[in-house]
Symmetry: C2
Subunit: 357 residues, 2 copies
């Protein structure tokens, strides 16, 4: 494990993206989105993924110079075609369209097709905050998750992010996979040789397992809830809603047809749509009540929850977004820790493209 | 346990609501909403609640003749003031406002204050289906749920319902509390003298328990996920989002201030808003792509999931809404089973108001 400054990783990521042909402003946007994951502690979605994006570009599955555009719209909705671009670029474009519509008619809702992995969901939702809007960001993803009673992987970890502004308190920012645990957590347990808790994974035959290798060995991640008795049909329904809003509304691929993120797996034949799909929402707070009034009540909400009496052994009730914001502060100051295999991967990637890591 | 025909229960409920002063059309709407819960198998939210509504009316906390109105709006949003009416009446009014806005600008979003318990979330979301819209319905509720690490009950079971139209297949209808299990399931276990699975309940001290009396004895329901290791922070975040959309946006009470449904518990002093809150959304499918195209892909989505290979011992993968729709068919034909204490309660209620059960 080594620490790298934000500036160092920013420079490298930007140079790499420029090197594969991204226009300057796209490279800048994509770098900022990607590194926000590292800052906020979602290490699986940050710079560690850079070589994966590059390999998809090498396979011709990512277009470094996309013409992202609105292909259909009404006053409060739009469909955006990402032209096979980096989701890291397509998503902020689409979120801006949603926010523009919210300015005009109160809310804006944008479904996106023909895109790729968009980094952390939270980045895009949080774009709404500075304009006193509530931001919503959903995406589908490569199928790794088995619905309740399914042996097959039919859904991605399909995250939901909702960002809500407050006044003196920091904003409320939920950003979560609709599974019990994200794949990144399995990888940590694999490295440590530890088992998972119950309810995270099923094996290849569809039986519950606590093996951290369960998914790698042909099993599946489980929807939030874990099993039927603990409400996994709810996690499954949430993942399904994310899939449908992101892809059936836009014309992207859905369910098991979502193209894999890894370049060594080919997309299925007979795709049902174009690329992967996202969904964004922006709601102007003052389309409901005066912004100042809303934000004061959010402060009150946050303070009441944060100061609630706790269960034995716990210090305080956490407001969604608190841990990520605290980590962002620390990592901006002290640097971002990267695992040795990631450092090696990035060094080799740089060497191939003449960019020094 | 006895079976009663839909028509029998409809007549009684309508007469009772008329008797307490509801105008004819309101009594009709409220009856239809309430009984849809019985038909769909959400017995805790149906006619068994009628005497609870009446007791709230007797306490002056429900207004039988509300002037429900839009108090603020933009082209795609509105705030509705329920004037302390039955949520069973206020909610369909607000959902119609959302659908009207969707007709005009693609989507409509309505936050509601000053309302009461609105029956099952799914009824209102499903109103959108016949107009080829996606319907969304959220509500906050009396505090019975402890956020992750909280000993205190700060949230309701705050359900989420999303209804999505298909073409030849029946619609996708998710309708779920954001807790591991709803309170109604605890009551069933209490009657049978059985324990709950893990992850449903914590006791008065904030420790996990499997006692079905845990909530009654001062404990709390747990958010979907059950504990931190199984993702309860996600269920907590979902319940929080429902609370904020329903009440902080509209000016209703939120969190621990939501007035209790039971008439024998008074609302807290120094309320932060008016009544309880709901949130509704309607999205015209053809505000994104041609409705027929969307609905054909929904058929494809539904068929792929329903015919997926299953885990050992399970017959098929269930599409959200399937079990409720099947039960509705059966109960419309064979009648609605009511437990003896419910029959006794309704009989006594009728006697007090000169309405024969």
């Amino acid at each position: 494990m080594q620490n790298f400054s934000y500036e160092h990783l920013y420079r490298f990521t930007y140079d790499m993206l420029f090197q594969i042909g991204c226009p300057e402003s796209d490279a800048k946007t994509a770098t900022e989105v990607l590194l926000s994951a590292d800052l906020r502690g979602v290490d699986s979605h940050g710079v560690a993924r850079l070589s994966g994006y590059v390999r998809l570009w090498e396979k011709g599955r990512i277009n470094a110079k996309p013409k992202v555009k609105v292909t259909y719209e009404t006053p409060s909705t739009a469909v955006v075609d990402g032209d096979s671009g980096l989701g890291l670029v397509v998503a902020p474009f689409a979120m801006k369209v949603a926010m523009e519509k919210a300015k005009n008619v109160g809310t804006g809702w944008v479904s996106v097709k023909n895109s790729n992995h968009y980094g952390i969901a939270g980045y895009h939702a949080m774009m709404a905050l500075e304009q006193d809007m509530i931001g919503i960001s959903l995406t589908n993803a490569s199928p790794l998750v088995a619905p309740t009673f399914s042996k097959e992987r039919l859904l991605g970890t399909n995250p939901i992010s909702v960002a809500i502004p407050a006044k003196e308190e920091p904003p409320f920012v939920a950003d979560m996979a609709t599974t019990t645990a994200a794949n990144g957590k399995l990888e940590i347990l694999q490295r440590k040789g530890l088992d998972t808790p119950t309810g995270w994974v099923q094996d290849k035959s569809g039986n519950p397992t606590t093996s951290a290798n369960g998914v790698k060995d042909g099993g599946a991640l489980l929807p939030l809830g874990g099993d039927r008795e603990h409400g996994s049909h709810k996690g499954y329904a949430l993942g399904a809603i994310v899939d449908i809003f992101s892809a059936v509304l836009s014309g992207a691929n859905y369910g098991p047809w979502v193209p894999p993120f890894v370049a060594f797996l080919d997309p299925l034949p007979n795709l049902v749509g174009e690329g992967i799909g996202h969904f964004f929402g922006a709601m102007r707070v003052d389309a409901f009540r005066p912004a100042d009034e809303f934000k004061s009540h959010m402060d009150n909400w946050i303070r009441r929850f944060r100061t609630a009496e706790t269960t034995p052994g716990n210090e305080k009730v956490i407001i969604p977004g608190d841990p990520e914001r605290e980590l962002e502060y620390i990592r901006m100051k002290d640097g971002i820790p990267l695992l040795d295999p990631v450092v090696k991967d990035l060094t080799e990637l740089g060497e191939r493209f003449g960019v020094k890591f």
